[in-house]
């Protein structure tokens, strides 16, 4: 048979099979819902939620609707994901460099950590870290205190929180200017120095100036808990540590493979030109290794975003816990709630994947 016709026939058959399966699923769903006198309806999103979310970055109280709970918990999921990605990448790089350092102590330590962490279950590690974190931190009335207004105890890290119109404006303006400058750095060509040297101090300067104009809300121990200020809960800390360490060992192996994939000649040439070992690693080898490691790294980052749902086991209020547990239980709308939760993760992961692919395309060598 003509291979083209053959390939078309196979693809057509696959499309039909998928369509049939989808039809069967939706028919199954509608029949079963109808038998129980139920229907798919997203109207519940506007009903009053009535529950409390113990940790949040955006506004929430129990009078807000269910739909808003998805936003609040979504922000929590994104916060945890971002922190874990940063921690896992830095830790992964450190472990990979230790493993390749040639120093037997460093290489052995790194290897032991990697084997220990990647061969034990993820959820067990997270619960272990959580219980460990809770055991280490002191009880509330014996908090570790810094400067009289920062407290660390088993309930979390309490920080004074700034507020005020001037504060908001200065912070926003600084961030916008720095991001714009970072993107247009070469085109502007104002200073010859690299942007990584110039921009971070500007960011810090802006924050300090803003801090002087703000009114600060200090945490105070009242009754059972500290009142006021911002609180970083131990659940977030445990989730970031647990999942960050778990992911870092996989990233370490990816980085190691990428570095070993760069021809030895590259680092030898760099060394013979008079570059130090560090310079040859960070200026010659790593930038080239980046091209190899981005695609597998993307998969790890996508895994991190999905794995934040394990936070539900240790009471971190992310999408799965707040939406797929509490909201589902209260509203009874299993099909609608699970569709939304899957949709949220799909959108977030597709965006992440698109961003990583764009970065990858920029780094790809022309003509290769």
């Amino acid at each position: 048979m003509n291979p083209r016709i053959k390939s078309w026939a196979w693809q057509g058959a696959a499309v039909i099979a998928v369509a049939l399966l989808a039809t069967w699923f939706s028919h199954n769903l509608s029949t079963n819902l109808a038998v129980r006198g139920m229907q798919v309806d997203f109207g519940f999103l506007a009903s009053r939620a009535g529950f409390d979310i113990p940790f949040r970055l955006v506004e929430w109280d129990s009078s807000y609707p269910y739909g808003w709970a998805l936003y609040v918990s979504g922000v929590n999921t994104l916060l945890a994901s971002a922190l874990i990605v940063v921690l896992a990448s830095l830790l992964g790089l450190a472990l990979a460099l230790m493993r390749l350092s040639g120093n037997p102590l460093a290489a052995g330590t790194s290897r032991a950590i990697i084997e220990l962490v990647r061969n034990t279950p993820q959820l067990v590690q997270i619960v272990f870290v959580y219980v460990a974190v809770l055991q280490v931190l002191p009880p509330m009335r014996q908090s570790i205190t810094w400067f009289g207004s920062i407290f660390l105890n088993v309930r979390g890290l309490y920080l004074p929180s700034p507020s005020g119109t001037a504060y908001d404006w200065i912070i926003t303006a600084t961030v916008v200017i720095v991001i714009a400058a970072a993107i247009l750095w070469r085109r502007l060509g104002l200073i010859a120095a690299p942007r990584l040297v110039v921009l971070p101090p500007i960011l810090i300067l802006g924050a300090v100036i803003a801090g002087f104009t703000a009114s600060w809300d200090h945490p105070v121990l009242r009754g059972f808990n500290f009142v006021g200020g911002t609180r970083v809960p131990p659940e977030l800390l445990a989730l970031v540590l647990g999942l960050g360490i778990y992911t870092s060992v996989f990233i370490a192996e990816i980085i190691r493979a990428a570095i070993e994939g760069i021809h030895r000649g590259q680092s030898e040439a760099a060394r013979s030109l008079g570059l130090t070992a560090n310079q040859s690693m960070f200026l010659v080898v790593l930038p080239q290794a980046l091209r190899i490691l981005i695609p597998p790294l993307t998969s790890q980052y996508l895994n991190v975003i999905k794995s934040t749902t394990l936070g539900a086991a240790i009471a971190y209020p992310e999408v799965l816990q707040i939406f797929a547990r509490t909201v589902l239980n209260q509203s009874g709308r299993a099909v609608e709630v699970m569709t939304l939760v899957l949709g949220v993760f799909l959108v977030v992961n597709l965006l992440t994947s698109a961003a990583m692919n764009a970065w990858n395309r920029r780094l790809t060598l022309q003509g290769r």
């Binding site: 029949t31 529950f51 809770l134 240790i314 009471a315 009874g332």
Partner: protein, 352 residues
């Protein structure tokens, strides 16, 4: 062309709606007309085991002992039901379900009945499409707190953080209680009770909240139970009971009258030990209960000794309560869970 596709689409929608309507009508017709004992019992008999949905581990209701055997009042209900339907209390497949998954597991048909200290509520009956058959334990939501806190009643918990499990009515009750009294109580939600208890013992929260029956059970699992107390007041009504899928009225009747039989047995003094001798009783209610008079079992689609077998598994309701919550077990006073004529809430419908 466009009109044609529109017509076609309309035709497809009509056909699909017709199909759904036909299935729906069929379902309703089956529920009304199915001869006893109904499709659920037919399926149970064919498979030879009762699929019973239970809790993952709350002493008193359902928990595994050192040898891995399930124990608890909910377990004994499952066994009594299996004895009544299949004639053998051991022919059960237990499915431990989390608070979040339990109703989905029941809706999907994985289990025949859910006996899992679950509160009967309006939403669960309507939005979830379930039948709420009977209450086998009257509870209320209470608090377990450290004695050292010096809290005497729930209203003193202003500003406290309470650990609990997600997917239950517990968190909503706290929010409602806080809203009505103006108190501010934070909640921290865990997947499983064990993790919530571990966090509480580590000092992450000031207390733990659950149904009064479960609280007594969880307190018994703490490292130093004497350091902790259950607050006297309850902030909600939690009638814990039996759920089944809507749509099989025959099955609903069997489960309902099984619960009644266990409670009637206590009322008329029929126990695990004397059940067989009661066949020669002079009380017509007892004779109907143990299957000597009337064709009550046959009317349910079972045989007449269905209730006798159920009672002989672990005893009447009072004996079940005593085994799992009595002075030798969790030591929880009977209170609301006594029979109506002894100051409690269990009022049985007459067997006649």
């Amino acid at each position: 062309m466009q009109r044609l596709t529109k017509m076609m689409r309309r035709g497809v929608v009509a056909a699909m709606a017709g199909g759904i309507a036909a299935v729906f009508a069929g379902g309703v017709a089956m529920a009304q007309l199915a001869p006893p004992p109904g499709p659920t019992v037919e399926a149970i008999k064919k498979r030879g085991t009762l699929n019973c949905g239970i809790d993952t581990g709350v002493p008193g209701f359902a928990a595994q002992d050192a040898s891995g055997t399930w124990k608890g009042i909910d377990i004994d209900y499952c066994r009594a039901l299996a004895a009544a339907v299949l004639g053998d209390p051991a022919k059960i497949k237990y499915t431990p379900t989390t608070a979040a998954a339990r109703f989905t597991v029941l809706q999907s048909g994985e289990i025949d009945v859910l006996i899992r200290d679950s509160t009967l509520t309006f939403t669960r009956s309507t939005a979830l499409g379930l039948d709420q058959v009977a209450v086998n334990f009257y509870a209320g939501q209470g608090f377990l707190v450290r004695k050292a806190l010096g809290v005497a009643k729930a209203a003193d918990l202003q500003g406290a953080t309470i650990c609990t499990v997600t997917g239950a009515t517990l968190e909503l009750n706290i929010a409602d209680f806080a809203r009505s009294t103006g108190a501010k109580i934070g909640t921290l939600l865990f997947d499983k009770a064990e993790e919530a208890i571990a966090a509480m013992e580590a000092g992450r929260c000031d207390g733990y909240t659950d149904d009064s029956g479960s609280l007594a059970g969880m307190r018994s699992t703490l490292k130093v139970p004497a350091d902790w107390m259950v607050l006297p007041d309850l902030i909600s009504k939690e009638p814990l009971g039996i759920h089944i899928r809507s749509g099989d009225a025959r099955w609903q009747k069997i489960v309902f009258w099984l619960d009644t039989a266990l409670k009637s047995a206590e009322e008329f003094g029929v126990t695990k030990a004397n059940a067989d001798q009661m066949k020669s009783s002079k009380d017509p209610f007892i004779l109907r209960l143990v299957g000597v008079e009337g064709d009550f079992g046959k009317m349910l689609g079972l045989d007449n000794e269905w209730a006798l077998r159920a009672i002989k598994v672990a005893g009447n309701y009072g004996e079940l309560y005593d085994t799992h919550f009595g002075p030798k077990a969790l030591d929880l006073p009977r209170g609301m869970n006594n029979l109506y004529n002894k100051g409690g809430m269990h009022y049985t419908l007459p067997l006649r």
